[in-house]
């Protein structure tokens, strides 16, 4: 069933609608009010598309074995439809980051109203998965990011989702206006997935997450189908576990290593080059031993642009990656 959760008239002959697809178990009409519900949300940033394929595949997998479904699945593939359809990260016209508007306000401006309607609709879910795809600049290994304020509740859930990495980060006032923070504060456990890269679909990552969501649903009593044993994620709770690589100068970044590669301190990660002068402006060297979980995808860099992130060797100790 496709339902419009929010509808707002635009100035010229168009209506902005946010729609969801609800999949319910067959033949359990009397019990529906008691059934647990999972909400899978994506497309808050219009340039992040990995979640498009996840929604598509998840629905197909569930439909193929509908009799195994024992909970309600709500799929929200396009929270920012104007953004997705116009290749715009934020909300077009307003140039606002939609993920800085929550929990919204029913009596507020159009964007705040939409945020409030989204919150109302997701409220009451047993769990929510908010799928992001980094941005157009960086490729990320499938990971779940958790605000330290909510880690006790969320880490056990995140372990079931078949991601490679769980990153617990510090609380930040600015992040209080995200969908995830607002839902977690309201008592809806919400996991933020970051994976892949903006404007692209990385099918193997999407498939990996689909398995993870089904596994989480199984663990929570919403899915009776077979699922794979999930990957054992690396969990980082210490901010010192992560080493940031920022460009020392503006130029064109050309990587020399692969994403998710093990690095030794001193390894060459890539070069920042100047094509006009034919010069290497800087060699980007691994400052620590570890694994490269973020890598620059977009070659043009300014001084300061993020080129990658390394999860230090110490943080890997004892994890599945060491086996």
């Amino acid at each position: 069933m496709i339902k419009t959760i929010c509808s707002v008239g635009l100035p010229v002959d168009e209506t902005l609608e946010i729609r969801k697809r609800r999949i319910t178990p067959t033949g359990r009409k009397g019990e529906k009010k008691q059934l647990k519900r999972i909400s899978v949300v994506t497309g808050i940033h219009g340039d992040e598309l990995e979640g498009q394929y996840v929604c598509f595949q998840l629905a197909r997998r569930i439909k193929a074995e509908k009799e195994k479904l024992t909970g309600i699945v709500d799929l929200y593939p396009a929270m920012n439809p104007l953004g997705i359809d116009s290749i715009t990260r934020g909300i077009p016209a307003f140039d606002l980051d939609m993920n800085r508007l929550f929990p919204g306000n029913r009596d507020g401006d159009m964007t705040e109203y939409i945020a409030a309607k989204i919150m109302e609709d997701i409220d009451g879910s047993e769990v929510c998965i908010d799928i992001h795809a980094s941005n157009i600049f960086l490729t990320e290994i499938p990971q779940i990011r958790i605000n330290e304020l909510h880690k006790e509740k969320l880490i056990p859930l995140a372990r079931h989702t078949n991601v490679d990495f769980i990153w617990v980060h510090g609380a930040s006032t600015v992040l209080e206006s995200t969908l995830a923070h607002s839902l977690n504060s309201r008592g809806v456990p919400t996991l933020v997935v970051e994976m892949g890269v903006g404007m692209r679909i990385t099918r193997n990552y999407c498939d990996q997450l689909v398995e993870g969501i089904l596994n989480l649903m199984r663990e929570m009593g919403m899915w009776q189908g077979e699922t794979l044993t999930p990957r054992v994620p690396i969990i980082s709770e210490n901010y010192q576990d992560v080493s940031y690589l920022n460009a020392s100068t503006s130029g064109i970044f050309v990587p020399e290593v692969k994403h998710w590669e093990r690095l030794k301190k001193g390894d060459l990660i890539g070069n920042i080059i100047d094509p006009l002068k034919g010069q290497v402006l800087d060699e980007v060297i691994a400052p620590v031993d570890g694994i490269l979980f973020t890598i620059r995808e977009y070659p043009v860099v300014d001084a300061g642009s993020l080129l990658g992130r390394i999860l230090r060797q110490e943080a890997l100790a004892g994890s599945a990656q060491e086996e």
Partner: protein, 310 residues
């Protein structure tokens, strides 16, 4: 007057990013004034350019008090302005959401850190900033309620209004907020416009700043004393919202007094021209903010009124 580069980044193909400041007087860091931080803040740039011109003249006439230093930075984001983009050219981040900055971080964090390092020790900080929605304001001084804002001091600008508003999560990364955290007495100054030059309100803002500086003993200025500012809480303003979207036909203008029930604007059907909705004043008051885009969305606060009670 001394022209100096406050912060600089080398680019690959573009000219280097230079953030340029104009310094007047010598001595303790008394006043810092920052103009545009976004690429569409043309009015904010214009006001600063006129202020630089005035301060240069005042300095030449010996009207600056010895022992005080004034720094004016007309733009902390010329890169965006030159390509007509509101936010940072590559990643669309907002420099005014990056303070206090981080010198080892991303580009706009570095710019914020570089600028903030140069301006954080001033006694008074003033920033010309803008609203994200298109519209005209009654000129005012705006302050965030961070706990130690000085409203009486804000009145010394002699602007018609001093507006107080509660902080929101994103405010903690603005220049104004961080100035206050670092003990600078910080004020945001709004003139009438953003993307268009409005000479009248620009001149009013310059008079307000010169008045303020004169009252602090930083310079000698005998101009119009300005207004006895009315202090208004942002939450006390009455928004007038559209129910529908369409062509916006404003009837009243900023600064006008309106009576309850008076028509304020029509929303027209964009194809058939009929009035879809007429907005009327819900209270007696003064128009503080007026939408000025020819189109409007639904649920949009196209007017904000200050009531007589406020």
């Amino acid at each position: 007057m001394k022209k100096k580069i406050v912060y600089e980044i080398k680019a690959l193909y573009r000219d280097d990013l230079r953030i340029t400041g104009y310094e007047f007087g010598k001595g303790k860091k008394s006043v810092c004034i920052v103009g545009c931080s976004r690429g569409n803040e043309v009015q904010q740039l214009y006001v600063c350019s006129q202020l630089v011109k005035r301060l240069k003249k005042l300095e030449e006439e010996g009207k600056l008090t010895a022992g005080h230093r004034i720094l004016v930075i007309p733009s902390i984001n010329p890169y965006s302005m030159n390509i007509k983009k509101r936010f940072w050219p590559t990643d669309n981040t907002d420099i005014n959401r990056m303070f206090p900055g981080y010198d080892l971080g991303e580009t706009t964090q570095r710019i914020a850190a570089g600028v903030f390092g140069a301006i954080k020790d001033y006694t008074y900080g003033m920033q010309f900033t803008s609203f994200y929605m298109p519209g005209r304001f009654t000129p005012h001084v705006r302050m965030m309620k961070v706990g130690y804002e000085d409203v009486e001091l804000a009145k010394q600008f002699g602007m018609p209004y001093v507006v107080l508003r509660n902080t929101r999560p994103y405010d903690t990364t603005t220049l104004n907020y961080n100035w206050q955290i670092w003990d600078t007495k910080a004020f945001s100054i709004y003139t009438a416009t953003t993307t268009q030059i409005d000479r009248e309100s620009a001149a009013q803002a310059i008079r307000a700043i010169l008045n303020f500086l004169a009252k602090q003993g930083i310079l000698t200025y005998h101009g119009h004393d300005g207004y006895r500012s009315m202090v208004v809480e942002d939450t006390d303003m009455v928004p007038v919202r559209t129910k529908t979207a369409g062509i916006f036909e404003g009837i009243v203008r900023v600064g006008e007094e309106v009576s309850k029930g008076q028509p304020l604007a029509n929303i027209l059907d964009p194809y058939e021209g009929e009035v879809k909705e007429q907005l009327t004043a819900p209270v007696d008051g003064i128009v503080f903010f007026a939408h000025d885009d020819p189109l409007t969305y639904a649920n949009t606060a196209v007017y904000k009124l200050i009531t007589r009670e406020a």
